[in-house]
Amino acid sequence: MTRRTKALAGFAVAAIVINLVPALAEALDTPGFYITFMFTAFFWISQAVSWNILTGYSGYFSFGQGAWFGVGVYTTGVLAAKEGWPFLVALPIAGALAAAFGLGLGLVVFRLRKLSGEIFALTTLAVAFVLASVARLYSFIDGGRGIFMTGTPLPEFLGDFRTAMFRMTFVVAFLTVLAAYLLYESRVGWGLFAIRDDEQVAHGLGVPTFRYKMVALGTNAFFSGLMGGVWALQIGFVTVDDVFNIRVPLFVILMSVLGGMKHWMGPVVGAVIIYTLTDRLNSAGLEDVNQIIIGGLLIFLVLAVREGIYLRMRMRWILTLTVFGTAMAVWTFADLATSLIWDFAYASLITLLAVLLPTRQSVARVLRRGGPATPVEASAAERAST
């Protein structure tokens, strides 16, 4: 399949999903929380994948995800809820404004002569705090009073609230993953990987480093802000403390580290697994323990699985599919858990453990056997062999 047929097939599948799934849910009378579960997963997929476009591809570690997300939330908050603009008009502005903030930051920091990765990381963290205090300071944004989103009217063709959320989050997540995939395969993507491996050499070989980094940062901020704009509706009551905190950056880092930052698919896998597990822990009433588990997991993953689990899953795909399929079947048919989401959570956990089992195969060998290596896989192979 050429890239174009793949993309067209993707669009066709997407069109079917946004129409069929809500209809199916209605016909089968599935509980509403299944839809909520799915669109929250889409939210995290979009956030993690967009973060990875900057950090995974270019190697510039960003804590700024909360800032772009927050700009998106407050844009639709102010325009749609306070000023009464149509929601679908405010939404693209949310993405554009977040991208503008991202590019503005990039214009300053990427011009620094001695920009190191750490300085970039901490500057992005500072941006989130500054935006938070700006939002608190000006009453036309927030002024410390918060914004009610609950009355915001949505166009009728989107369906009821849940269905509308499902459709909008799906479309944004789909576009994010598509952008990540296209960038990954494109010349820009190759340039970004070269920057990640060695920026000076890349620059010397003629990669337009500044422009490519701006593309990565802009894409990241755009999709994060766009999804933030949609997510304002789900938050309901938007406050500065809820929006500009370290939750979003923490989770996208965790998800991408788990899934693997060197492949466009990695954060998708990571987001689904982490979101499912934390959602189940929260619903089991373990919220306090949850944070400690998440922090510990992050430390463990950084030390134990440097390449992320997605490449391992691909390397051991028979094992992965067998374990997941068996576990899912056992839990579903033996009725071990109360809902399909629990079944899925247990099956993912078991698969995760199976994939993490130590193996003597290296990611490199398997990837080499499967045809020509992409630059990412080649660099992973090189690291694994040394």
Binding site: G295, L298, I299
Partner: protein
């Protein structure tokens, strides 16, 4: 108006000392060990809560908590560095690991002391509202104490680094760890001691914070916007620079909050940070040529 302005400048100057104590630990480990230890923010908070707990339970002057907090901080920093040495992490891994530690420590603090505001009782804490006047300007005693500690730490650290054998070893490691090791410097031991020292400084900052402020688990997030500019402006690993930068940031933030309201302070500190990164990325107080 000018009275208010004078007051803002003096208070900013004094609180700049506190900012310096909060920043010097991060600056040292970042400059010398190439590790950005975000966990220092949690250690500052932990130091503050420990002071609150010791002072409240034993009903003693909060400054006595220094006797416990400093060794405990040293131990915590040393253990963390031993962990880093054993796992042989690179810079980004250490950043993520320390970020994970922040999440864990915040969560532990929230579990033990809850999200409510905690404040040392006035009967035990004589410093909270203690102040005296020089002309029309009030000098707050807890800030003055913190400023004194900052001067002590800055001078002590810079003497230690420039005069002692330990300091020589640290500077050798900063220049070239491999050559330093070839000349018989045990760089792991030096790193562990330095990290312990840095964390002890951070925990000390917590003691002073507890003497005049209400504590809640979320206050540590706000510190980041101040500490990061101070560290950059002062120059990595430069303790005296951190003191100077702390005073600059403190005065700028103080004057800004008088002129344009308290929330503008974080904007001003951010602009200082950007300006510092653009024009003096090596720090204001670093001599040209020395890195």
């Amino acid at each position: 108006m000018s009275d208010v302005l004078n007051q803002a400048i003096v208070s900013g100057l004094l609180i700049g000392g506190l900012y310096a104590v909060m920043s010097v630990g991060i600056s040292l480990t970042w400059g010398a060990l190439r590790i950005i230890n975000l966990a220092h923010f949690s250690f500052i908070l932990l130091g503050a809560y420990a002071t609150y707990q010791i002072s409240t339970s034993l009903e003693i002057d909060p400054l006595f908590a220094l006797l416990v907090v400093i060794p405990a901080g040293f131990l915590a920093g040393a253990i963390m560095q031993i962990f880093f040495e054993l796992t042989k992490v690179d810079e980004f891994q250490s950043l993520i690991i320390s970020f994970g530690s922040v999440i864990i420590l915040q969560s532990i603090i929230r579990t033990i002391w809850t999200a409510d505001f905690r404040r040392i009782d006035r009967d035990i804490n004589p410093y909270e509202s203690m102040s005296f006047f020089v002309g029309d300007v009030a000098i707050q005693v807890p800030l003055l104490l913190a400023f004194g500690a900052a001067v002590g730490i800055a001078l002590g650290t810079s003497l230690l680094l420039s005069r002692s054998y330990f300091g020589k070893a640290v500077r050798a490691i900063v220049d070239d760890p491999q050559i330093a090791r070839a000349y018989g410097i045990d760089n792991r031991r030096v790193a562990v001691v330095l990290s312990g020292l840095a964390t002890a400084f951070s925990a000390t900052a917590g003691v002073f914070i507890a003497t005049f402020q209400s504590l809640s688990p979320s206050i540590s997030l706000g510190w980041f916007g101040i500490v990061f500019p101070v560290v950059i402006l002062g120059g990595l690993g430069n303790a005296v620079g951190a003191l100077g930068a702390g005073v600059i940031v403190g005065v700028a933030a103080g004057v800004a909050s008088v002129q344009w309201g308290p929330l503008s302070a974080s904007l001003v500190t951010f602009l200082i940070l950007i300006a510092a990164l653009l024009f003096r990325p090596q720090g204001l107080f670093t001599r040209q040529g020395s890195s």
